[in-house]
Symmetry: C2
Subunit: 214 residues, 2 copies
DNA sequence: GCAAAAACAATCATGATTGTCTTTTATTTT
DNA sequence: AAAATAAAAGACAATCATGATTGTTTTTGC
């Protein structure tokens, strides 16, 4: 591999250690992105291999060169979606702000995006698709666990009353995700979003233990 | 028709005014039920005409005699699901009990059933299926409107503060439906259901205007 | 009874999706 | 420069869902 750079004096490819590997990685990424876009645009069940190939702008033959079959591609897409979610999550939680308001808004913004749409498409499909469930459920559980652990880190003073802490988390999760899913299915009155968010924040604050000194 | 009874001395069919009409209606009902069961068992996208025919225990040819094509059957199934929802809803609301607790539990029980599962399958599918949306969205909207009007009837004393009333309704809807959907997708911790329900009831009570006299 | 109509069953042609296989083109490697 | 390897495209057969067509049995109305 090192010899390649010495031998070819031409510019361009000479600088890369391995043009093929880079090209392959880029193509795989293109395919994974196309898969995610298809899930968002057409839904899981209509995310077919010809459609993904078309969305990625390449032949189906080329596609199947990089992923041995359709479900290998889907598996990679799920892994990428999971990473996306975790990245967005870390970004939200890591910003050193521990205020309820900020965190509620951050999670709301996150699940208002298309990544959540794609995830819910997969989650509902996995209800009746065992193979898909086997891939997806571990990712869902890891996310929930990290969510919970991160919340514990953010609110250490709350750990004395675990029941109220758990309730605040469960409430947040179900209200926000409920709104997000209802929005996907013509079931959300947008005018109610802001009042509900405000109420949720108020309620979480009410569940917090009183600080010993202000 | 009357002559038939005279002619055939055998019991059974003689008593019905029109055997064919009854048979046809029964067969159509069987097909519609089979369609709903398929949506619940296999999901919307895997509810195919051969599968429905098999579930109904008849040939696909017979099936297509009663419904000109697959989407006509789906349309009938959606109408039936809509009726089911409205019936369950009327039963809940009509039981002359106007307590928050009772109503919350009634709606929770309702959306914990399979009818809601089927409806959410359809609702999410309609996100990316325009034809399905054209059939489904009107039913969804009618249900929401009736839900709202029924709530107004049940809580006339609340109408002075419409903002708080609307908030209570929107909260109920999103919390309960959020839980129901999360339960469908491995996202609900069953241990949190009861605490969330209790909290929701408490919060709705808190939003109610104070009665002038106790 | 008997002809018409309805219920039911079976088959056919079409289009879509899937995975495999072969061919062509580009890139490494020696 | 030639052989080897990887990327990309295309062709292929198998499966499945769909709607239409045809044939068979049962019910209906005279």
């Amino acid at each position: 591999m090192a010899r390649t750079a010495i031998k070819t004096l031409k510019p361009g490819p000479a600088l890369e250690l391995n043009v093929q590997a880079a090209k392959s990685a880029a193509t795989r990424a293109r395919l994974i992105d196309a898969t995610i876009r298809c899930i968002i645009k057409h839904g899981y069940s209509r995310t077919t291999t010809p459609r993904v190939a078309e969305e990625a702008g390449m032949s189906r033959g080329a596609m199947l060169h990089h992923f041995e079959n359709g479900s290998a591609l889907m598996q990679a897409a799920i892994a990428e979606l999971h990473e996306k979610r975790l990245r967005a999550f870390r970004q939200s939680a890591g910003s050193s702000v521990h205020e309820v308001h900020t965190l509620v808004r951050a999670y709301w913004k996150q699940i208002s995006g298309q990544t959540f749409t794609a995830f819910h498409e997969l989650a509902l499909a996995s209800r009746t698709d065992k193979d898909l469930a086997n891939i997806l459920v571990p990712a869902q559980e890891e996310f929930r666990v990290r969510w919970y652990l991160q919340a514990i880190e953010l609110f250490p003073e709350w750990q004395g009353d675990r029941a109220r802490f758990d309730l605040a988390l469960a409430l947040s999760q179900n209200v926000l995700e409920g709104m997000a899913i209802n929005r996907l299915t013509h079931g959300l009155d947008e005018r109610m979003v802001e009042p509900i968010l405000i109420d949720l924040e108020r309620q979480i604050e009410a569940l917090k233990p009183l600080p010993k000194k202000v």
